[in-house]
């Protein structure tokens, strides 16, 4: 047990420490005031984020079960930062809630699970992380305890998540049965184009696609997003999704490399379906959370487009896009969370005339939506451009054309919301809202991210220097 251990596991250890601190504080029962709780949590998360900047080394632990390197540390820092923003934005919702520490204990546990998943060097470790990351999420989905819809969402989520885990586990067991190892370092060499291996990889991909909510495994998404509290929805759609993509980039991706043709066809189908179905369903939604759920399904398709490139450009573009996506999606969810907490309204039609009463909030959500749609000068433009460029680097222009044409559809529904906010008349618009300082801070961070990341090419260069 050398100091290396602490350096290698710094992100996990600091998260665990925070979870224990929260538990002890909860048991001590000395903090009565929700605001104090939230400030403590935010402060701890800030420290946690800072820990990511301590110098890091590449290395393995526990016989190759756990490994880490610079790119993984970067991925974890991105997730940490996203969680910090979500916690800032949750202020208005949680300040009247009865169970503040529990919320964060559950939330951080899932984050810990994701970290283990990202760093796993073995399928066992991976599966462990996956389960740690999924089960508390169902509890979180139900965190508005008195709402029936929340409970429905939670039950749906836990059942379907268990089901997808089953399928994935089945794939893993087939793989183990035929190769005799679960070690990611050894597996690629042992895989060959055999029916059994193909089948097992398809099962694993299905589990993965379920977590990413790509079509046709997306049906849980809209209901769960709608039923869950906004903060949980944003966590699900941003952090959870980003984590599973990171896992794919760093861990699962290499497994599929032996199966170029089949793998590519599978991705092709998945991308076309995901983008198109996500977009078409997003058009018809009125609940703004459902709307963002479908838009995030479509975004997942673009992420897969970057992955389909299978080269360094694709990997860098995907990580970069996820970074941008966190800021843009959290900007939108931040406003929705404030409106939901303070005005208790969640429909697009409620947003009519929003600009008359809440100018700044309107601009924040508008800019975030533009960023999601990929309109310059927001960072979303660069994110999407790089993803499409990476997709084109593979030479498959049919895919690029389908993905690009879908941008028009997506622009339509994002503009529909913008139109409701700016143009549509409304006699009783949402009254002037006064969000807390910390929610405002969360939004300001998102806006800075959305505006700056695109122009600061050093961020992309840094990511690109880490990817292989």
């Amino acid at each position: 047990m050398s100091t290396d251990f602490f350096i290698l596991m710094k992100s996990e250890l600091s998260l665990m420490l925070i979870i224990f601190i929260l538990l002890i504080l909860k048991v001590w029962d000395g903090i009565k005031d929700n605001s104090t709780w939230l400030h403590i949590v935010n402060f701890l998360l800030l420290i946690n984020f800072a820990v990511g900047f301590i110098y890091s080394v590449d290395g393995m632990l526990f016989n190759g079960m756990f490994h880490t390197n610079n790119i993984l540390v970067l991925e974890k820092s991105i997730l940490n930062f996203g969680t910090l923003i979500i916690s800032l934005q949750a202020f208005d919702w949680l300040k009247t809630h009865k169970h503040v520490p529990e919320f964060f204990i559950l939330l951080l546990t899932t984050l810990l699970g994701m970290f283990f998943m990202i760093s796993s060097g073995n399928f066992l470790m991976f599966y462990l992380g996956l389960e740690i990351a999924s089960i508390p999420l169902a509890a979180l989905a139900n965190f508005d305890l008195e709402k029936l819809k929340s409970s429905e969402a939670a039950v749906k989520m836990i059942l379907l998540s268990a089901f997808s885990s089953c399928i994935m586990l089945f794939g893993i067991s087939l793989l183990y049965g035929s190769t005799g190892t679960l070690n990611f370092a050894e597996l690629p060499a042992l895989l060959a184009v055999k029916n059994l291996h193909i089948l097992s990889l398809i099962f694993i991909f299905v589990g993965f696609a379920f977590k990413l909510s790509s079509v046709p495994f997306h049906l849980w998404t809209a209901d769960v997003y709608e039923g869950s509290p906004v903060s949980v929805t944003s966590y699900l759609s941003v952090i959870s999704k980003a984590a599973i993509v990171f896992v794919f980039i760093s861990v699962l991706g290499p497994l599929f490399l032996n199966f170029q043709g089949m793998w590519y066809n599978m991705l092709f189908l998945s991308i076309v379906l995901t983008i198109t179905v996500g977009n078409l369903f997003a058009i018809r939604q009125d609940n703004i959370k459902r709307f963002l759920a479908f838009s995030s399904i479509a975004q997942a398709g673009y992420i897969l487009l970057g992955l389909s490139a299978g080269n360094q450009m694709g990997t860098s573009a995907t990580i970069y896009f996820l970074l941008v996506y966190i800021f843009s999606n959290l900007g939108a969810f931040g406003v929705i969370g404030i409106v939901s907490a303070l005005a208790n309204k969640e429909n697009i039609s409620d947003y009519k005339g929003f600009y008359k009463t809440n100018k700044l909030l309107s601009w924040v959500i508008t800019i975030s939506l533009f960023s999601l749609a990929g309109i310059p000068p927001t960072a979303g433009f660069f994110g999407k451009m790089f993803l499409v460029t990476a997709g084109a680097s593979h030479g498959n222009y049919i895919l690029v054309i389908i993905a690009s044409l879908n941008m028009i559809v997506s622009l339509y529904y994002y503009l529909r919301v913008v139109k409701a906010i700016f143009v549509d008349p409304n006699d009783a618009p949402i009254e002037k809202l006064n969000p807390s300082f910390s929610a405002k801070l969360g939004l300001i961070i998102c806006m800075i991210g959305v505006v700056v990341i695109g122009f600061a090419s050093c961020i992309y260069d840094y990511i690109n220097s880490l990817t292989i």
Binding site: M313, S316, F370, I375, P376, P377, F381, M385, F386, V388, T389, A392, S393, G395, Y397, V400, I401, S404, L405, M407, I408, L411, Y412, L415, V418, K419, F422, V423, S457, Y460, D461, N464
Partner: protein, 502 residues
């Protein structure tokens, strides 16, 4: 003035300054002074450009600046101007000043209105000076969304429908451009598998005809949507007529020129051989647009719709000139871009001024404006005459150049196209004279019109600025010709090189 970045920074800083203004007077004056400074800078830039050329600087692009932006993807901030971009920048600067002056009376959400106008102009300036395809595309898209908001919030009529239609169709255009640009990027290999977005490098890298044949349609149609290429012109009438006056001026005066400029600079210049192959199709579509546009204009009863449809017809001349692929025709196309930009901006300005006072745009409800509103009436007549191609005004010069250039193609197909296009001018004369005769000359039809107030100082300033530009081009076209000609020559040389296969 040789630092081109300032041309982007000034409108951008003006836009940001507008956000910090306290009241409408400050907002208006800030935008006005900002745009005036920009006009001054643009003129200074034009004079330094002419001086540079006069002392024998023969490099293709002057005042270049090049910084690496995204080095991994070889994206650069690479700017520079040639004669064509210089005149486009001048056009933009004039129209922006005029547009801001015409919007002096915008009362609702003034700050947002001027901010979006200035943001739109940032996109246009950036587009015209970019020599890197990625930055060029970036600025092209910057100019799309402000239009949506301008029309949807401050527009009239079925504004929401028009705004959405315009945004989606222009987005569709951009998507086509995007696909074309990506394919161009990956088709050029400047050694070691490194690709480039650099316009000048791509022009000299030889892309095979086979690849060009695939890429060219995407680029041309993409940019064509912006400049009302038939059958992708349908956003034009709705968009223009629903937009507030300044937005119409910007749309027709600047935004549609982005497409023409892009079609020439990117599609034709970079894909010369494919341009040759597809030339007949471009000519065909342009001729249809010209004839269809002019006849559709005949049917209009609303002044703004009339001008919007005539824009379709006039922009057809731009595409016709580009499609003919002769040096004179290309020069004519660029001249038509400038001429139509200035003329139609003034046209929409005049219509806006009329509407603001009479609250109607129906030709049948108007009459005798020359008696009650002598200044505005005169402006309307002048632009009308320019539109129908009266010698001495800019329209005549530009259209004439296009026709002369087109006539240089001796085969029957191009001759017929030229004749048909030229014949459309008669139709133009019919609708312009009819509208001017009824609305401006005729008897006063409405008692209420007796007490209207003529143009205010800002409207006069805007109108005079644009009329001066129209006269300058119309009376002394050679300075414009001399600016454009060397660069049209370079484009022609690239086409010729493509044909001989070097």
């Amino acid at each position: 003035m040789t630092n081109l970045t300032i041309l982007i920074l000034v409108p951008l800083l003006t836009a940001i300054a507008v956000l910090f203004c306290r009241n409408t007077t400050q907002i208006k004056w800030t935008s006005f002074i900002g745009s005036l400074v920009q006009l001054g800078l643009a003129s200074a830039m034009m004079f330094s450009y002419i001086t540079e050329r006069a002392i024998g600087n023969t490099s293709q692009m002057l005042f270049q600046q090049r910084y690496s932006w995204y080095s991994a993807l070889n994206i650069q901030y690479f700017i520079g101007v040639d004669g064509i971009s210089v005149v486009m920048i001048m056009l933009t600067a004039c129209v922006v000043v005029a547009g801001i002056l015409i919007s002096w009376k915008v009362e609702t959400l003034t700050k947002e209105f001027f901010f979006l106008l200035l943001l739109l102009s940032v996109g246009a300036y950036g587009f015209f000076i970019s020599l890197d395809l990625f930055t060029m595309f970036f600025f092209l898209e910057v100019a799309v969304i402000p239009k949506f908001l301008l029309i949807a919030i401050w527009g009239s009529g079925k504004k929401e429908y028009s705004a959405m239609k315009l945004a989606l169709m222009l987005m569709g255009g951009s998507v086509f451009v995007l696909i074309g640009l990506l394919a161009t990027y990956f088709a050029t290999d400047i050694g070691n598998g490194v690709h480039t977005w650099d316009l000048l490098q791509i022009a000299h890298a030889h892309i095979s005809l086979h690849t060009q044949m695939y890429i060219f349609p995407f680029l041309f149609v993409g940019f064509g949507v912006f400049t009302a290429l038939f059958p992708f012109h349908t956003w034009v009438p709705d968009g223009h007529s629903s937009a507030p006056t300044a937005a119409s001026m910007f749309l027709a005066g600047i935004s549609m020129k982005l497409g023409g400029y892009g079609a020439l600079r990117v599609a034709v210049y970079l894909m010369p051989e494919a341009a040759q192959q597809y030339s007949w199709l471009i000519v065909l579509l342009a001729t249809i647009a010209i004839i269809y546009g002019s006849f559709a204009t005949l049917m209009q009863k609303d002044l703004k719709y009339m001008n919007a449809y005539s824009s379709v017809s006039h922009c057809g001349f731009i595409l016709l000139g580009i499609g003919m692929l002769t040096k004179t025709a290309i020069i004519g196309a660029v001249m038509q871009m400038v001429s139509h930009g200035v003329m139609t901006a003034l046209f929409f300005g005049a219509i806006g001024m009329i509407y603001e006072r009479t609250h109607t745009r129906q030709i049948s409800e108007l009459g005798g404006l020359l008696k009650t509103l002598p200044f505005i009436g005169t402006v309307y007549v002048i632009t009308g005459l320019c539109s129908l191609g009266l010698p001495g005004l800019s329209g005549f010069v530009a259209e004439m150049t296009v026709f002369v250039g087109s006539w240089q193609r001796p085969d029957a197909f191009h001759r017929i196209a030229t004749i048909l296009a030229a014949a459309s001018i008669v139709v133009t004369a019919v609708y312009i004279l009819r509208a001017a005769g009824k609305a401006v000359m005729g008897p006063i039809v409405n008692e209420h019109f007796q007490h209207l107030k003529d143009a205010t100082w800002n409207e006069k300033f805007a109108s005079v600025l644009l009329i001066v530009a129209i006269l300058a081009i119309g009376i002394a076209p050679f300075w414009l010709y001399n600016l454009i000609a060397p660069d049209a020559q370079i484009i022609m040389e690239n086409i010729a090189r493509g044909v001989t296969g070097n």
